[in-house]
Symmetry: C2
Subunit: 459 residues, 2 copies
């Protein structure tokens, strides 16, 4: 509903942005959902700033009119981070997508928040350096920082928290700050960089990132191997990590996921619990790592390795992993994934997955499992039709059981997807009275609760 | 001066702690300085809690009486973190020194804050696992977390920020919170663990830590090698890092430092700019790393390598590095070190050190250089007599020049020593208006400014 107040902010924003402000219904709806089961909640307007200064000006206008702001990157959040629960402005940062600097001497790049993973990969291709962190979708780096994303390489290279050196942030009052530095380490005051990484847009808007680059490895080897049971596959992964093998990737896919992949891609991999492995380093080091892993896998009755002998077959094998999501969705056409995301101490992982599988077996849900098992992190992709309340209820039951199990095991309710609105209900159980500290910080930096309100912190 | 108010808190603390509370002058003085040029400022009382619950009770009493608290570990801070600027209670945590759990399945240990580096090493010896982070002194792990310490292994294993999984903290109001988890990663809300790591006791008191353990490497090789110039040594280090060689340690010692070591230990290493190198990994991987580094070093006219062939000679070589501090001090008996601590992007390191050396040459200061050059971090150990105001002024000038240079190069005024009181003057320049965010957090969590007041944040 258009009120005098909303007309005023619309006019102010329009004067600043012209046609980079829209109230078009289709655009608003495309900005109100994300990749998940959460029902769309569109913003009132979508704005497309071109610079930090414009972001600051928009934030100042919104602060003045007490209008909420939801930052938006590629819209790939799966926990409802971008739902406009209280309406307001969706700040679409996708046009701030310039790679400002690639410094291979000091191993960093300076980028705007709308730069995507694929765009960054393209720019770094052939440079001898790469950025290791990437979720399964073509997210923006700003969004990845905001949700503390990780993905398949985290077992070796850490998460976004470990790979952001510095940020430019626009605070809720429109002030611009620069935090962190280009030095590899620092001990000068509160670690604001780590505070804003993972803050999900609730404390300010990231408008520039300095990220760490890593030398591209001399050699990469990729393999998949099937096991007689999930327990055997996971036990192999656990032993490999405990042994200190510097795996680049060590991913689990369960039998149902392999079935989905074969069906989707017309392949014929054994439909068994499978580890996807990637080794990198020098040629010699990789050979040695492979020998160690093969030896461990044999202890757990591995049923043979499929190795990629060249880059083309490596890319083909890698598709086994990257196509996991569409393959799973194709099991139930028209479905939406509810992707769970717990992370536990690695020795608890086999038990955690086994008990989860027993839960799934109690339902009629289609729910393949895949996981970054080197980190103790795994996902169940529960395939549900949005208009099936019974399936939604079962998915909720399964997710809730997983979270309580993970917390009881000393783990966390989200390894990498964040809280958004989807995990709000578990924050109290995971953090207890530490939640009051988070609330105090939120209150101190965003006293009017205008930055992505209703996310990360339960009311 | 004893007032009725101070008598009351003394009585309350005494009722709680008995003889674990003292106002003995010698004890107070031993708790008011640290390892540095800062003049002693003793607390009014020193207390020795035995448990988190006692810490909480002491904090509650101090909050009630508005008495400042300075947390204390081993007293090895070199930036004046433990000076009792406003008197009050020194919370000596050295008796909370139990190693509560060593879990090699999940690669973590749970410890009390008073556990020291040497104590932890002793406990882990023979376990097949180790904790990589260590400054040059036998600090407590609580103190190391509080100052975001790092040391010689940081180039490979990161700093305390990367190796603390979870903390128990007593907040300024006496509430106890648990933050982080035992999972390897999490994206559930603000990263409070990273906020408290490096907070220098200004937001609360760390009473328990869960730290990451790492598999002990199969092979370790150690070497030192001399170069014709600092530039050649540093250029070698830079190239090695850019090449992605996973060095365990890569340390620079300048010619004066080698002279000091020869004098102190009656050795005869070439008195030239020298790199101390440690390689770890599998036997094969180490051999390969060595070949790469030797090849790079030859480009920069390395003057030969001295290799440790066995554990005894490795320990002997390692003493070259560990004895650097006492060796330097012996150059000027009775002197105190003023250890500078800047960190810059690695490509700027050679220039930064060269310009620093030119500055030193303009003075009559005795000031050897050593550095964690793989991280772009180095120290000048300025040896001064505490009662020599002229030397103090020159040291201040030199330090200030270094900081401004490092900041101009995109670096930081402290790589690993923290702010304390020693670097307060540079916080504004390094962080600009981001300092207001730090102040807002401090105000939100410690509104009465009782936790280590006067440290980290300039007034």
């Amino acid at each position: 509903m258009q009120t005098p107040a909303t007309q005023t902010i619309f006019d102010d924003l329009h004067a600043l942005l012209g046609d980079r402000l829209t109230a078009d219904t289709q655009t608003r709806n495309a900005h109100g959902a994300g990749f998940s089961y959460h029902a769309c909640q569109p913003p009132d307007w979508v704005v497309y700033p071109n610079s930090t200064e414009e972001v600051a000006e928009i934030v100042r206008l919104c602060a003045q009119h007490q209008v909420p702001i939801v930052p938006f990157g590629a819209g790939t959040s799966i926990e409802g981070h971008i739902l406009a629960l209280h309406g307001g402005v969706c700040m679409d940062l996708s046009r701030m997508n310039t790679i400002l600097d690639v410094n291979t001497d000091d191993l960093y790049a300076v980028i705007q928040p709308g730069v995507t993973r694929n765009q960054l990969d393209g720019r770094l291709d052939g440079s001898g350096f790469f950025f290791p962190i990437g979720p399964g979708v073509n997210a923006t780096l700003g969004g990845m920082a905001a949700t503390r994303a990780s993905g398949t390489n985290a077992v070796r290279y850490g998460t976004m928290k470990d790979n952001v050196l510095a940020l430019t942030v626009v605070l809720p009052d429109g002030q611009m700050i620069k935090i962190g530095s280009r030095a590899r380490k620092s001990s000068t005051g509160y670690d604001l960089t780590r505070l804003f990484v993972g803050s999900e847009g609730t404390l300010g808007i990231i408008t520039e990132l300095t990220i760490r680059l890593h030398p591209y490895p001399e050699a990469i080897q990729t393999a998949i191997c099937a096991f007689p049971s999930v327990d055997a596959a996971v036990s192999t992964a656990i032993r490999v990590i405990q042994k200190g093998v510097p795996m680049a990737k060590i991913e689990l896919l369960d039998a149902l996921m392999l079935h989905a992949i074969n069906r989707y891609s017309d392949t014929n991999y054994p439909e068994k619990p499978t580890l996807f492995l990637e080794f990198n380093g020098s040629a010699l080091a990789v050979q040695e790592q492979i020998q160690t892993v093969e030896r461990i896998a044999q202890v757990f009755d591995v049923e043979g390795f499929t190795w990629a002998q060249d880059e083309a077959s490596r890319q083909k094998l890698w598709r086994v992993r990257t196509d996991a999501a569409p393959s799973a969705l194709a099991l139930r056409p028209g479905s939406t994934p509810w992707s769970t995301d717990v992370c536990v101490p690695i020795s608890k992982l086999a038990q955690c997955i086994a008990e989860t599988q027993a839960d799934i077996a109690q339902t009629d849900l289609t729910a393949p499992i895949l996981g970054h098992v080197g980190d103790g992190n795994f996902h169940v992709a529960i395939l549900i039709h949005p208009d099936d309340p019974d399936a939604l209820e079962k998915a909720n039951w399964l997710n809730s059981r997983m979270v309580h199990r993970a917390l009881a095991m000393g783990g966390t309710c989200s390894g990498e997807h964040g809280i958004g609105v989807g995990k709000l209900a578990y924050m109290e159980q995971e953090h207890g009275n530490a939640l009051a500290v988070m609330r105090a910080i939120k209150q101190a930096l965003d006293p009017h609760n205008l930055m992505n309100p209703g996310k990360l912190l339960p009311a």
